[in-house]
């Protein structure tokens, strides 16, 4: 009988955490680990300390889904201050330059924004966690040795103006994994001709994880203390609902557990329509515990 690690609590599921401003994403993971009594906790898609909003957290066996969830589309509410460049491209850094904001007509603003819609090449902020020769870019930048980071392909699916009251500009951004909203603010400022930085960032959703039903660390703590973790854990089906489903007979379990392929001809019932829900998933409440 294999021995179970002492800290390996039998808790499995996904949490839609509402991260508060001031915490790092790792702080959230550390707090959840302590509350749940397990080290098997990971987050999907880092949020900067100054950012707030949706941070999907995977627990137990579902930590294997971190990369799958992090790959999904993300939506952000972003407040930008035009005319001020900072070292970090957000309000945490030192002001480098100030410029007057040119008159912004709807046409001029839309022309500037349209350059960032669709697939683009984006240079990450110098103060980012990207590794350069084994060192974090922000460590190098703090020493005054900011690295030249290579542009990376990202996709901006939507870029809408929520409010424009120069120097303040509020945007709704829907984008792919790897997009830095700080870089978007910085580059938009350059395109307009005055520089800019990000002053507030709220992540509204990551895939099917929405801010409207995200829970705070306080709510998780209360649920854990009351022995009601099922009220804050989501079944994995919810997070993966965009994928089609396949039902296999019991004898495939060994192949799947060992990562071995099995012939498609013996797969059993399947649906290629992601909207099809099997009766057991449709019947389960949204935040119920996943199948045991």
């Amino acid at each position: 009988m294999p021995r179970r690690r002492r800290d390996d609590a039998d808790v499995h599921g996904l949490m839609n955490v509402s991260k508060a401003r001031g915490f790092t994403s790792h702080d959230v993971v550390a707090v959840v680990r302590r509350m749940l009594g397990t080290r098997r906790v990971g987050h999907a898609g880092t949020l900067d300390p100054l950012a707030e909003g949706v941070l999907p957290v995977c627990v137990g066996r579902y930590t294997r889904l971190v990369d799958v969830i992090a790959d999904t589309e993300k939506g952000y509410y972003a407040e930008v201050e035009l005319g001020v460049r900072t070292t970090t491209d957000d309000a945490e850094g030192e002001v480098v330059e100030r410029h007057d904001v040119p008159p912004l007509t709807t046409e001029r603003l839309d022309a500037a924004l349209s350059a960032f819609r669709g697939p683009i090449e984006q240079v990450p902020p110098a103060f980012s966690a990207i590794k350069v020769a084994g060192r974090r870019a922000y460590d190098l930048a703090r020493r005054g040795d900011a690295p030249e980071l290579a542009a990376r392909p990202v996709t901006i699916h939507r870029l809408d103006v929520v409010r424009c009251a120069p120097p303040s500009l509020v945007l709704l951004v829907v984008c792919s994994k790897g997009t830095y909203i700080r870089s978007l603010a910085r580059d938009l400022g350059e395109t307009i001709g005055c520089g800019a930085h990000l002053t507030r960032l709220v992540r509204l959703w990551v895939g099917s994880f929405g801010l409207e039903d995200a829970v705070s660390l306080e709510e998780i703590s209360t649920a854990a203390s009351a022995g009601q973790l099922d009220t804050v854990l989501r079944p994995a089906d919810d997070a993966l609902a965009a994928l089609p489903a396949l039902v296999v007979p019991e004898e495939r379990l060994i192949d799947i557990g060992h990562g071995r392929p099995w012939p498609a001809t013996v797969s059993g019932a399947q649906s290629t329509d992601a909207r099809v829900r099997y009766p057991w998933t449709a019947a389960r409440p949204r935040r119920a515990r996943p199948p045991a």
Binding site: P2, V247, I256, A264, T265, A292
Partner: protein, 40 residues
């Protein structure tokens, strides 16, 4: 593709390997029987 067993348990994510006409598990959420991960 989400892969379930007949009890509605999510087992894995899998991709269709067209060349072999087979399903290839890419992310198993269970361990094989006798493995060290108790998945019930």
């Amino acid at each position: 593709m989400r892969v379930y067993d007949t009890r509605g348990r999510l087992l894995a994510l899998a991709e269709h390997d067209r060349r072999r006409d087979a399903w290839q598990p890419r992310l198993a959420l269970i361990s094989p029987p006798g493995g060290d991960d108790d998945d019930g």
